[in-house]
Amino acid sequence: MLLFLGSFLATLLHAVLMFALAPLLAGLVATLRARLLGRRGPPVWQPYLALRRLLAKTTLVPETATALYPLWPFVAFAPLAACALLVPGFSTGMITAPLSDFITLIGLLALARAAIVLAGLETGFAFGGAAAARDVLFSVFAEAALLVVLLSFVLLAQRATVDDIATVFASGHVGLSVSLGFALAAILAVALTEAGRIPVDNPAGHLELAMVHEAMLLEYSGRFLLLFEYAAMLRLLVWMSLIGSVFCPFFMARADAPWTWPLGLLCWAAKLCSGAVALAVFEISTAKMRVFRVPEFLSVAMLLGVLAGVFLFVAARIGT
C-alpha cells in the first residue's frame, strides 16, 4: 500500500512538472538560441506570456471549416498529454509504467500527427494542404526508422516498455555498445523531425511556403491555437525526456522510494538543460534542408537503426 502511495505521488509530481514546465523548456531553447546568435532574446518565460495572450484572444473560425474544426486541437493535445504521463521523467516505476510500451508511444505520436495533418486540411487552404502532404512524407520515413531503433532497445533490454528499458539500461549490464551509438544518432534525427526543429522545419520561421508544422495551424486562433502550441511544447519535452531516460538513465529515482526523488529531480533538470543547450547549439550551426532532402536524412537514420541491429546480431554471434 505504502509502495503504491509512493508511486502514485511520484506520478502526480511527474505530471504536474511535465505540464507546468513544458513552456519553460521551449522558452529556454529560444532564449539560448538567441543568446548564441548574439541577440538578447526573449525572457525564458515568454511562452507562458504567449499562452496567456492566446487565452484572452477571440477564437476565429473560418467559413469553410467543417463541424470537426474544434475537434482537432483536442485530438492533437490528448495523445501527447498521455505520452507525457507515460514517458518516465525523474523516476522509474510510476503507476503508468506498465502502459508505457514503446509501440503504444509510437501510436500515440502518430495519432497526434494525424490530428494536426487533418487540421491542416480542414479549411481547404493551400498552405495547410501543402504542409500536410510534406508532414506525411516525413512521417513515413521517421516511423520506419523509429521502429528499427526500437528493435535494438528491445534486443538489448529484453523488455518493451520504456520504463523497463530505462531500468535495465541503468543497471549497467548493457554497458557501452556501438549499437547504442548508432541508435542514438538515429533517434535524434527522428526526434528533430517529429518535434519540427531545424534542419527539418523551422519553428521560428515566418515564410508560409517553407513552413511545415506551423503552416498547418495558420487558420487556427485563440484557444484552439493555444492547445496546438502547448501540444508542440509538450512534444519537445516528451522527446527530450524519452531520449534522456533511455540513453542516460543513471541516477533516476525510484518512484516507491521518496528519498531518491531529489537526486532524480536534479538529474532530470540537468538532462533537460543540457538537452536544451545541445538543441540550441545544433540549431544555430546548421541550416534548414530542402523538403526533398529530408527523406534522405531520415533514410540515413533508418540505415543507422538497421546497422545497430546488425551489430547486435554479430556481437551475439561472436559472444556465443
Binding site: 484572444k57 467559413e63 504521463l85 495533418v117 502532404a133 506525411v136 516511423e143 546480431f313
Partner: protein, 546 residues
Amino acid sequence: MFGLPGQGMHLRVDALSLLFLAILVPQVAASAIAGMGRSVTFWVFIAGMVCALLAADAFTLIFGFELMSAASWLLVLRGDRGPASLYVGIAMFSAACLVPALFLPAGSLAFVLVLLGAGAKAGLAPLHFWLPRAHPAPPAGVSAVMSGGMVKVALYVIIRYGFVEYGAAAQPWWGAALIAAGAASVLLGSLRAMLEVELKTLLAGSTVEHVGLIAVGLGVALRAKAMGDPALAALALQAALLCAVAHGLFKPLLFLGAGAVKAATGTTSLDWLGGLMRGMPRAGGLMLVGAAGMAALPLGPGFAPEFLLLHAVIGAAGTGGILARIGFTALLAALGLSAALALGAAVRLVGIGWLGRPRSLHAAAAGEAARPVLAGMALLAACCVPVALAPGFVLALMRPVILLLVPAAQPAPLAYAPLWLAVLVFGPAAAAFLLLQKFARRGAREVPVWNGGFGRPPAWLPFGDPLTQPSATGFAAPLRRALSTDLLPAAGDPSEVFLYLPLLRLHMRVTRLAERIRRSTIRERLAFVFGALVMFLLALGLEQGG
C-alpha cells in the same frame, strides 16, 4: 447424393471455421441491410463462402470456393466487364493450383500450390494486381463482402492446410515464403492506398495491405511452430487472427461509406470530392471510425493487431540465424514504412474527401446517405467498439482456435490495455476542455478564411477556387516523387508492370492468333487438312518402310 463417388460431401464445425464464420456475420448482415439483401447472386456468393468454411473434405472445400468465385464473378460483371474477365482468369488460375494441391499428399509441393492458389485469391503479392481492379467494380455492398470476407476465406484455406492438414510436414521455409509474400503485399498495398485517387481502389489497396499483415503474422507463426517455439507462434497467430477480425469490420464499413459517396455525388474520385462532412455528417462520422481502424491508430480497432504483430516480429528477430535476423529487421522497417503510409492514406481519405472545400458542384450538393446504408455502417461501427476497447476479451474468445492450430501454445495475455490508455487520453482532453471553458475567452466568430492573405474569391465561386486547394493527386505528389525512383517503376505497381502487362500482351497475341484461325479462308482450311493428311500418311509410310 453429391460429391465424389463413394465419398459424398461432409460438413463440420470446429473452432477455426467458427471464427471465420463469425467474421462473416456482421459484414454480411450490414451489406444485406444496406441493400444487397434482395440479390439472389449475393446469397449464392455467401452460401459458397459458408460452404468453403464448413467443408470437411477437399471436394466440398473446392465446391464452395468455386461457387464463391463464380457468384462473385457475376456480381463483378454487373459493375464492369473489363475487370470481370481479369477476375475470372485469376479465379481459374487459383482453381488450377488448388484442385491438384488438395489431392496431393502433404508436403512442400502441395503447400506451395495451396499458397499460390489461395494466395492469388486473397490478393497476396505478386498476384495482387487484379484486386484493386476487381474489388471496386461491383456495387458497394458486394465490394464490402469481397474485401472483408472473400479474402478471409482464401486465408482460411491457407491456415487450414498450412497449420492443420499439412501441420506435421511443415517446414520453416513455408513460413518464410508466407512472410516474404506478406511483406511485399504490405508495402505495395499501402503504397497503392496512398497514391490511388479513386476511393474504392484506394480501399482495395488497403485490403492488399491488411492481407499482407495477416500473412506476415501467419508466416511468423508457421515458422515459429516448425522451429518449435509455440509461445512466439501463439503471439503471431493472435496478431493475424485479430487483424482478420478487425479488418472484417472496418473495411466493409469504409466500402459501404464509399458506396454512399457514390450515390450522393455520382463519383468516387477524391479529386472531385471535398467538404462532404457538411452534407453527410453521419456517414462522415462513421467513416472516421473506419479510417482510424485502417490507419491502426491507438484506441481504434486496428491498433491491437498491429501492436501484437510488431511484438511478434521483434520477438522473431531474436531467434534463428543471422540472415533471418537481418531479414526480420528489414521486415520491421517495411512494417513501419507501411504503417505510416496507411496513416497517410487514411488521413488523405478523410482530409481530402470529407474536410476542406468542395471540389465540384456534386460534392457541394451531396445529401446524407440513405437510412439503410447508415444502419449497416452503424452496425459495423458498433462491432468495432469491443475490438477497439476490449481486444483482450476477443483474444480470450479466440483461445480455442490458437490451441487448435498450435496445440503446445500458451497464449499470453495482451500487454496493451486500451481502457487505461483511454483514461490517460480522455482525462487530459476533458481537463483541457474544462480549463479552456473556464479561463479562455468564450465563443467563436466566423470569418473568411485567411489563406496566407490571398484575395477573396469572386461571388460566383461560393467555395473559392477549387484549384487553390490541394487535390488527392497533389497530396500524394511529394511521396510519389520521393519514392518513384527506386520502389516504383514509372507506371506504378511493379506487379502491374512485370506481371499484368506482359500477361495482357500475351492474351492479345493469343486472341489475335485465334481470330486469324477463325477467319481463315476455305482454301487455307483445305490446305491445312490436306497437309495434315500428307504428314500422317508420310509418318505411317516411314514407319512401315522402317
